[in-house]
């Protein structure tokens, strides 16, 4: 099995698993009056780890799956999540952020794009709901809650995808040094 196929299978399983866990488990817990939503976090994490192409495909697939399972207007979540996955992948390409707390910022941004983008699209589609303080509060609470859980979600996604990801050069260097492969002391 090629590396790309391996990665594709893992991404597909991640997409399906995340959507099912979100719908079957996470969405049933209410914290601060809102539900956590791990799907934008998973899409953002996948984009950050695999790049914009894979990230956008994961986003589209996950969004479409959500639209299908929740019997929503098809394409709304797919469009928003595609942009999230692509944006996270571009962030990896352009900045290659290595800070420990990058997933926090990414989680907040991904959730903000997901919630605000979804609301905007629904308004554009003519959903008869006023822009109320309740909606703004709910969006803010969801962003805060998702930011809090973004680190463990990112860690889980990275753990799941790591076997299929190209080896990180820094990690390879570190391991080689540890085993003496590149140690300057071992060279004669």
């Amino acid at each position: 099995m090629s590396e790309e196929t391996h990665l594709g299978l893992r991404l597909a399983a991640l997409t399906l698993g995340a959507v099912i866990i979100q719908i079957a488990v996470v969405s049933q817990f209410t914290v601060f009056g809102v539900n956590a939503d791990i799907t934008p976090l998973v899409v953002g994490s996948a984009g950050l780890l695999t790049g914009p192409v894979a990230g956008s495909i994961v986003g589209f697939s996950m969004g479409l799956l959500i639209d299908m399972l929740l019997v929503q207007t098809l394409g709304v979540s797919a469009l928003v999540y595609t942009l999230i996955g692509f944006g996270a992948g571009r962030l990896r390409e352009l900045r290659a952020p290595q800070a420990t707390f990058t997933p926090l910022g990414l989680g907040a941004a991904a959730t903000a794009v997901a919630t605000i983008g979804y609301s905007l699209l629904e308004f554009l589609l003519g959903v008869d709901a006023p822009v109320s303080f309740l909606l703004v509060r709910q969006i803010l609470a969801t962003i805060i809650l998702n930011t809090l859980i973004s680190l463990p979600v990112y860690a889980g996604v990275r753990r799941w995808l790591r076997p299929a990801l190209p080896e990180d050069p820094r990690r390879r260097r570190r391991r080689a040094y540890t085993t003496g492969g590149l140690s300057p002391l071992s060279r004669q």
Partner: protein, 310 residues
């Protein structure tokens, strides 16, 4: 690495060509990335348009329903498999919720208890005030210049049986004035300032009240009982005086200045206490009585400011 063009790479022409190419090079990755994004966005918009325009049911909705039919067992299975996790989080949430509710109800209970205590205190003070005001008529004290005062200081120890009231010399109160409440004799003013007075209760070790048995007429002095602030002792009874259990002991009051007896601080016939026991071996010093006034629970008193001899 520069491409192999079959010529010398150090030639100025080639270097210029590499540095400033006459055409734009589109990297394959970039093109692929843009194509994928454009395709997915376009697909989303097509789906959105079709789905939105076909809300009543159609091809897309059939696909959606079919997909839901296929995936719902998986979703249901996952929900069942993850039920323990769900229950765990539900239990945690319920516990936190129950704790917050418990704290809320505790606070409500505290507030209610505080209000109840205040209400009970108000009822008690009102009852005492009404009884104290009625003392004027009951014991004909109107001519003794009664001044009603509220107790605001209580002695913190058992050695000094004193209370303080918020009235003083500015209200006509002076040292030695007798103090009563609705139940009977309380004590006398020990010291008074312009706006405050301290009252020595009748169970204080320095107290002594000339008293008489309201039934038999026996005369004596009511003193505190050592070591028992809730009991008084009637002593110095005359020979042949009889005091019986249950008799009411009242103040002897000012009897006469012509007899040579000291003028009492207290007006006559104010209840002091009821005899609880009489020691048959020593009736002269073994008469014990329970004070009528609730000396540990006084809120309102009347200070008699115009008693002769006070």
């Amino acid at each position: 690495m520069s491409p192999d063009l079959g010529c010398d790479e150090t030639s100025p022409a080639l270097r210029k060509l590499l540095r400033d190419p006459p055409f734009h090079v589109y990297d394959k990755t970039v093109r692929r990335r843009r194509a994928v994004l454009g395709l997915l966005v376009a697909l989303s918009l097509i789906l959105l348009t079709e789905s939105f325009g076909d809300r009543t049911g159609g091809g897309l909705h059939s696909v959606q329903r079919g997909f839901l039919t296929v995936l719902s067992p998986i979703e249901d299975g996952a929900s069942r498999a993850l039920k323990p996790v769900h229950d765990l989080f539900g239990w945690i949430g319920d516990t936190i919720n129950a704790k917050s509710q418990r704290d809320k109800y505790r606070k409500q209970l505290q507030v209610t208890q505080a209000a109840l205590i205040q209400a009970n205190a108000a009822v008690r003070v009102n009852a005492q005030a009404a009884a104290t005001l009625g003392v004027d008529q009951t014991y004909n004290l109107a001519s003794d210049g009664p001044v009603t005062a509220t107790v605001n200081v209580r002695s913190p120890d058992l050695f000094n049986e004193e209370v303080g009231v918020g009235r003083g010399t500015s209200s006509g109160i002076a040292q030695g004035d007798p103090v009563v409440d609705g139940d009977g004799l309380v004590g006398k003013v020990a010291t008074a300032t312009s706006n405050e007075a301290f009252i020595t209760l009748i169970n204080d070790s320095t107290s002594g009240v000339s008293a008489t048995d309201n039934t038999t007429g026996a005369v004596g002095i009511v003193d505190p009982t050592d070591g028992d602030p809730d009991t008084l002792t009637m002593a110095y009874l005359g020979a042949g005086d009889i005091v019986k259990q249950g008799d009411m002991i009242v103040t002897a009051g000012t009897v006469s200045t012509s007899t040579g007896l000291a003028v009492s601080h207290f007006p006559p016939n104010i209840p002091i206490g009821r005899v609880t026991s009489v020691d048959s071996n020593d009736p002269g010093a073994g008469v014990h009585l329970a004070p009528m006034a609730k000396l540990h629970d006084i809120d309102v008193v009347q200070i008699l400011t115009k008693v002769p001899g006070a």
